[in-house]
């Protein structure tokens, strides 16, 4: 197992290098002068000073070498849109809000989704099942920004704050600020998880070992705990890992609507604003998370289902 993880980490480095290189050169082919992104053109001397400041006077390959070197020292560079603030500082500053919202949404979405899925499978073709299917369809078809605005309108204001986010003790305080965004962000995943779980449980229930378990005289609870739950989790893990990376690193829409000081907006706005250091930083950050969660997913497969052997080891 240890060797397997090491090998995967080696692949991770190679993948990251390819991503960094591809993003760097693609980004430099974007049309538009990064120091002239405003509608007003700066005088040439002023623009030239900015180009020198951000290194755009050097050829792109030269800049690439400098960038890789800085990166090895953990330096993402200064964001072009916020003078004086480095991309490192922005990520450090913004990530907690995104991560907290993401973790809450994932925990809530996963718990509720799995429970609904299991119930629906056991109560197949009853009104409970139809309700869960309805929630699933609604959750997938209602965009999160519509739900967010609805929540703000119906619940926000008198009961819960419409916008805002705890600013001190970012991980634990101000729970009431996080309720509406968490609901809005998790609704889609509740739908996805419950649908997947329902199908998966139904499939497991048809297996012979369930019949055996029943024949052994196990109670329903024991069957669910020991046989059904674990075997039906595999497809959930497959969709969970990429979702995890996406949600934890920030959602553009939810954060924008609820004014949450998270990372989400930087993915979009750094590209529109040609903020090169920030484009690189967010891409690297997101891909790192994504790859790590895929590695974790592979390891989790092995833990949940012994039939999947991650490292080719002999039994």
């Amino acid at each position: 197992m240890g060797r397997y993880i090491l090998k995967r980490l080696g692949y991770l480095l190679v993948t990251m290098w390819i991503i960094i290189t591809a993003t760097f050169f693609l980004m430099n082919t974007l049309p538009g002068d990064p120091v002239q992104t405003g509608t007003k053109l700066l005088p040439e001397a002023v623009a030239q000073n900015l180009r020198v400041k951000w290194g755009f006077d050097k050829p792109v390959t030269h800049r690439y070498v400098i960038y890789l070197n800085n990166l090895l020292h953990g330096d993402f560079g200064e964001s072009m849109k916020t003078p004086g603030l480095t991309a490192n500082a922005i990520i450090r500053d913004k990530f907690p809000a995104s991560a907290r919202l993401g973790l809450q949404a994932i925990t809530f979405g996963l718990l509720v989704g799995l429970i609904l899925g299991i119930i629906a499978a056991f109560k197949r073709n009853t009104w409970i099942d139809y309700t869960v299917i309805f929630i699933a369809i609604a959750g997938i078809s209602i965009p999160s920004f519509v739900l967010a605005a609805l929540l703000q309108k119906v619940i926000g204001g008198s009961l819960l704050p419409i916008i805002g986010w705890p600013s001190t003790n970012v991980w634990l305080s101000g729970f009431e600020y996080t309720i509406l965004p968490t609901l809005a962000a998790s609704f889609g995943s509740i739908a996805t998880y419950s649908r997947f779980m329902r199908t998966s449980v139904l499939e497991v229930l048809n297996n012979d070992y369930i019949l055996t378990a029943k024949a052994k005289g196990l109670s329903k609870r024991e069957i669910v705990q020991k046989h059904v739950l674990r075997n039906s989790l595999i497809p959930i893990i497959t969709i969970f890992a990429p979702q995890m990376a996406g949600i934890v690193t920030g959602s553009f829409v939810i954060e924008r609507i609820f004014c949450i000081p998270g990372l989400g907006m930087y993915y979009v706005e750094s590209i529109n604003g040609r903020d090169f250091p920030m484009i690189m930083a967010t891409t690297i950050f997101f891909s790192f998370f994504f790859i790590i969660s895929i590695v974790l997913m592979d390891i989790l497969y092995g833990i949940i289902d012994p039939r999947v052997r991650v490292s080719g080891e002999k039994r």
């Binding site: 005088p43 004086g84 925990t107 718990l111 703000q152 419409i162 305080s173 004014c259 949450i260």
Partner: protein, 547 residues
């Protein structure tokens, strides 16, 4: 294995319960007393007055620093400087400073202004607005690495006297003196903070009516009254909470629940909803103008020749029904028959009130006839209809509406074929316009300071923002003379003639609308000043009458 799964579930539930236990603490309680709740759509870039050129940053900086002058109700008023004189040749401006201090009690000295001006022109600072101050002697040279810092025309004759020497007479220099780039800066504070100056309000000092108490990026900025401000007795607000609310719909919900006291730039649909509240007196509205104008830019150096002809350009301009455009198509703003918007002063007078809009007197001309004359002048082949390409800013629906309307008007009234090309995004659009790789497009201009020059200089030959590549000798002559003339009446005549050349006689561009700035506020907000240009609002004299 089973145990591990169990352990995972237990850990998860512990995490969840800890998270849930955090419930019930309110971290956003706003202070008591006179507090105003405001919103920006995005974070300021920084509070470093030498490095920013966007509205949110400018607004906060103007509220927290006291420069030479301050923009009062439509006119420049003495602030840090109590009075100033201009030499008879119009080149030397001497400002006399009052005795006032920063929030840490240190006196504001004339040397701090000298430092600020030198820092603005320093190539290492890369100040985006330095170009506006090219009128200061030696500034442009130092920026280009040619001159020395001592040659910049700014000096402190003593602690309270600042002398600024200009390259050419600039009658509107007092308007420029209100700009953030020449607010006083403390060398010791800036050197201590290094490159991070302007990102952390705790490491800054403030000389204005308010101080920045805290700034949580992406969330809110809290301004507190500056007790050390020289005119603190007249500042009634204790606190201003500026939330960062990018989504218009969220701002509306906050405004409805009185979580927001002022809302600007709202959509037409929301205005209808506000009507009943306005009638009931719960909300007051202020209608004003941004110093900005949106216009159709014709590429005067068109490679396909078509828009090099003044008659064709004029025909395209006259074919647009501007009333219908503003009322039915974009559903906002007011039709523009000239280039210079309302709310710009020429000396004491409002320019637009003194000068009739040039296109108003041209409504009698027939665009189709003009177009045919122009085509004949160019000797174009008329056996197939003439095709022009309109460059649309982005694929956003509002841009699409605009281009389709113009396409329809021109095709119907002139018999041309209008193809629509769409730029990938704003930056790509800007680049195509700046390089002249387009035929016709809609763009706009917002003034930087309150003088006709901020618009007129745009279309001088070779000006970097001359997106239409307009090139007219008489126009250049008039504008260059108007720039340096200190006689307001003479300037008015020169600008009147120049504007007529630009939009009517030569039709380098076709103005579309002047942008309307409507501010809605809860009726308990008093004393706030909303100007045409400059900051979003001026809070110095604002207060909240009991809610």
């Amino acid at each position: 294995m089973k145990k591990r799964l169990l352990a995972t579930i237990i850990t998860l539930s512990i995490v969840l319960s800890v998270v849930l236990a955090g419930c019930g603490q309110n971290s956003a309680s706003s202070g008591s007393g006179n507090t105003i709740n405001l919103a920006f759509t995005g974070d300021p870039e920084s509070f470093d007055s030498s490095k920013v050129a966007e509205s949110a940053a400018n607004t906060v900086i103007q509220e927290t620093q006291e420069g030479l002058v301050r923009l009062g109700d439509k006119k420049i008023e003495p602030a840090g400087a109590t009075k100033w004189e201009v030499s008879s040749d119009g080149l030397t401006w001497t400002f006399h400073l009052r005795d006032y201090t920063y929030s840490d009690g240190v006196k504001v000295k004339a040397q701090d202004f000298v430092y600020a001006v030198r820092r603005m022109f320093d190539p290492a600072t890369a100040c985006p607005s330095a170009g506006i101050f090219y009128c200061i002697k030696g500034g442009e040279d130092f920026l280009n690495g040619k001159g020395s810092v001592e040659d910049i025309g700014v000096k402190a004759t003593d602690d309270n006297t600042l002398e600024i020497t200009l390259k050419t007479p600039t009658p509107y220099f007092e308007q420029l003196a209100n700009f953030v780039s020449i607010l006083p800066l403390r060398q010791d504070v800036i050197e201590k903070a290094g490159v991070t100056y302007g990102t952390d309000p705790k490491a800054m000092v403030f000389s204005g009516p308010f101080v920045v108490d805290s700034w949580i990026r992406g969330s809110k900025i809290i301004l507190k009254k500056n007790e050390k401000y020289w005119d603190a007795a007249n500042v009634k607000l204790n606190e201003a909470v500026i939330s960062i609310v990018p989504e218009q719909a969220t701002q509306e919900q906050l405004f409805d629940s009185k979580g927001l006291d002022i809302i600007q730039d709202v959509k037409a649909e929301y205005v209808d909803k506000l009507k009943t509240k306005i009638d009931a007196g719960d909300i007051t509205s202020l209608v004003g103008y941004y110093p900005s104008c949106s216009y159709v830019a014709f590429n005067n150096k068109d490679k396909d020749k078509i828009f090099t002809n003044a008659k064709i350009r004029k025909a395209f301009s006259l074919a647009i029904d501007r009333e219908a455009y503003s009322q039915n198509v974009i559903k906002k703003d007011v039709p523009a028959y000239g280039f210079l918007p309302f709310g710009l002063n020429n000396g004491e007078k409002i320019y637009r009130e003194a000068v009739e809009e040039p296109l108003k007197s041209m409504s009698g001309e027939d665009p189709k006839k003009l177009f045919e004359e122009g085509v004949a002048e160019l000797g174009l082949n008329t056996s197939t209809p003439i095709t022009v390409t309109f460059l649309q800013r982005t694929a956003a629906s509002n841009n699409k509406t605009i281009s389709e309307y113009l396409q329809d008007q021109w095709q119907k009234k002139l018999g041309v074929i209008v193809k629509i090309d769409t730029a990938a995004d704003g930056a790509t659009f800007n680049k195509s316009i700046q390089k002249g790789e387009y035929q016709v497009a809609v763009t706009g201009w917002g003034g930087d300071y309150n003088d006709p020059m901020t618009f007129m200089e745009l279309f001088l030959t070779g000006s970097p923002n001359n997106s239409a590549f307009f090139d007219n000798e008489r126009y250049n002559e008039l504008v260059n003379a108007g720039a340096v003339d200190s006689n307001a009446d003479k300037r008015l005549d020169m600008f009147r003639e120049a504007e007529k050349i630009l939009v009517a006689d030569n039709a380098g561009i076709a103005p579309l609308t002047y942008n309307v700035k409507t501010t809605y506020m809860q009726s308990y907000v008093k004393g706030i000043l909303v100007q045409a240009g400059g900051p979003a609002w001026e809070l110095k004299n604002a207060y909240i009458e009991k809610k």
